[in-house]
């Protein structure tokens, strides 16, 4: 009996240690997030002023802001989403509505999931070969195309998942009323899955608004104001990359401010998407 008691104590203690380590792991995860956000707020707020939103990126040593970079990021994100979202939604629709049980769909799903986590720098190289090299110069359009290629897999995934959640009875009911299949999908299934599909688009926007690697050699950078789709354009991530690695302190300060802006935007979008998605179960 005494021996058993000792063994029981040992098992209990070992379990307590494991449980303690799990608590510590969770605390560590939260601490990392906390430290990153605290550093960003501390360093980013120092340079945050109205001039950030009203002035262009400066040469070293003079005052300036991030206006052209913010505009560039918005333009490229918008075009990227406008190109990528329809393709993604239509592809997701095919897999959920027409080819739900077909082998092709599961193969496409498999490939799409790989593209979803594939390195984004590879997308940049691809667009470089496809657009920048033949056109002979870097451009806004190439940057947007690279971002669109990143939007597609995210939207395909969420669209398909959301459409699969739509109860079949809804489709059967509308088919029984005589609606053709394309109308059943567009008028009934899309309506029921709308919140989830918007969530997917928001997540895609969140993902591409911080992307840097694919822009380095597609849209490059531009010190000046530009809205020419056929010319290089500044973007927040690329400016952060360039300014943070520069030896100039005022450039580094602007890089931190840019980093704060991007993170705020991305985290707001992710939280918004999550909040929308939490009511996602299509009725």
């Amino acid at each position: 009996m005494a021996l058993d008691r000792g063994r029981y104590e040992r098992r209990r203690i070992r379990s307590k240690i494991t449980v303690g380590l799990c608590w510590a792991a969770a605390a560590l995860g939260l601490a990392i997030l906390g430290i990153i956000l605290a550093t960003l707020l501390y360093k980013g707020f120092a340079g945050l002023g109205i001039n950030v939103f009203t002035e262009m990126t400066p040469p070293p040593g003079s005052d300036g802001g991030l206006l052209n970079a913010i505009a560039g990021s918005l333009i490229m994100t918008a075009i990227g989403v406008l190109i990528g979202t329809p393709i993604g939604i239509l592809a997701g629709t095919y897999m959920a509505e027409y080819g739900r049980y077909s082998k092709v769909s599961s193969f496409i799903r498999f490939i799409n999931d790989i593209l979803l986590s594939a390195p984004s720098i590879v997308t940049g190289l691809f667009i470089y070969e496809l657009m920048v090299r033949p056109m002979g110069h870097f451009s806004t359009l190439a940057g947007s195309a690279a971002l669109a290629a990143l939007v597609i897999p995210t939207v395909v995934r969420t669209t398909e998942n959301m459409l699969l959640l739509v109860p079949n009875t809804l489709r059967e009911a509308s088919s029984a009323l005589g609606l053709p299949q394309s109308l059943v999908i567009r008028k009934v299934a899309y309506k029921a899955a709308r919140a989830g599909m918007i969530t997917g688009v928001l997540l895609a926007i969140a993902r591409i608004s911080g992307e840097t690697a694919p822009l380095l050699f597609t849209s490059l950078n531009n010190q000046f104001w530009s809205t020419n789709l056929n010319a290089p354009i500044a973007s927040l991530p690329v400016v952060i990359f360039q300014y943070a690695l520069s030896p100039y302190e005022d450039w580094q300060r602007l890089a931190w401010t840019g980093a704060l802006l991007i993170t705020a935007a991305v985290l707001t979008l992710s939280i918004l998407a999550r909040w929308l998605g939490s009511s996602r179960s299509p009725q």
Partner: protein
């Protein structure tokens, strides 16, 4: 076209008009199906096009250097001698160290979230960990360069060097001046970045364990540790490996964070404190400055190697996760 279409058809007096409405409907039906189908196939086209363009772009490098491209360490733009060994080595070593650190922590967090955490805190903590995945790569980069690397340089690396100074073999791994930046710093940042992905997968697969199994084990008087070790983890092993591979795929391809803190040195050092480079960091750093076709082509060839490696790793990850999904569905 509206919901009323159907009614309109029924109301249309003449059969001819009725037929024409039906025909339009049928046409739009076929058109929509065709549109969605071609979009779905576009995903496959995208993948093929990426591989195709990288092969085309890297062809010059492969045809010039042959297999030696993969096995030489020299990377000299002046003499146009390029070998991929140093970046490949850096990519694999940083990712491997990152996984060694991230996997146990991720599993710990997943166990915490599924077994230990009070119900009310599960969602907020889970969301916070997932937000870690949402932080853009470049933020990890700038944070790593200005905050984390100096921290390691002043506090951690000197301690590591002193601790292993007189230990044979290990002293080679922790040698040299504490630069702050280098292989180890990159690996630690990669570990933070892949942590949420592995955690999310582990948490999902842990939730597929039937509660009766756990209840039975607890009922026999097992401790939490024993239930996790003997029921939860064996039941979800394939899924965990899938999640780990998914994280590995991310770590291998991660660019911006690594580019900031790895030091971009084209050499292979035994010490993990030394600067190095990875495939993606090399491309990010040098692509726009590459002059000459051979230089550019060598960088694209690096991209092809990276895409190939990550493709294989991610494909294996997905296959494993598909297996556990089937199990959960059954």
């Amino acid at each position: 076209m509206s919901f009323l279409t159907n009614l309109e058809i029924q109301r249309s007096a003449s059969p001819a008009k009725r037929r024409s409405v039906l025909r339009t409907l049928q046409k739009s039906d076929v058109f929509f199906r065709y549109l969605t189908q071609s979009s779905a196939y576009f995903v496959l086209v995208l993948l093929t096009a990426i591989f195709g363009s990288l092969i085309a772009g890297g062809y010059l490098a492969f045809s010039t250097f042959g297999v030696s491209f993969l096995t030489t360490e020299v990377w000299n733009p002046v003499t146009e001698q390029f070998g991929a060994l140093a970046p490949i080595y850096g990519t694999i070593v940083t990712s491997a160290i990152a996984m060694l650190i991230a996997v146990p922590i991720s599993i710990g967090i997943a166990v915490f979230l599924t077994e230990l955490c009070p119900m009310a805190l599960r969602r907020p903590i889970g969301v916070a960990i997932e937000l870690l995945a949402g932080v853009p790569s470049i933020i990890y980069g700038i944070w790593g360069l200005f905050f984390f690397a100096p921290f390691l340089q002043h506090y951690v690396q000197p301690a590591l060097i002193a601790a292993f100074e007189h230990v044979p073999i290990l002293n080679n791994f922790f040698a040299g001046p504490p630069y702050g930046i280098g292989i180890l710093t990159s690996a630690l940042i990669l570990a933070m970045m892949v942590l949420p992905f592995i955690t999310a997968v582990c948490r999902d697969v842990f939730e597929t364990v039937p509660p009766v199994l756990k209840e039975a084990a607890y009922g026999m008087g097992w401790t939490t540790r024993e239930v996790v070790k003997n029921v939860v983890i064996p039941y979800t092993r394939v899924g965990i490996i899938g999640g780990v591979m998914l994280g590995l795929g991310r770590a291998l391809g991660e660019t911006m964070a690594v580019t900031f803190v790895i030091g971009n040195a084209h050499r292979i050092s035994a010490s993990i404190l030394a600067p190095g480079t990875t495939i993606s960091a090399t491309i990010a750093n040098e692509f726009t400055e590459a002059v000459g076709d051979l230089y550019t082509s060598s960088l694209i060839a690096l991209g092809l190697i990276l895409f190939f490696i990550t493709f294989v790793v991610l494909a294996l990850a997905r296959l494993m996760l598909m297996r556990i999904e089937k199990k959960a569905g059954a």
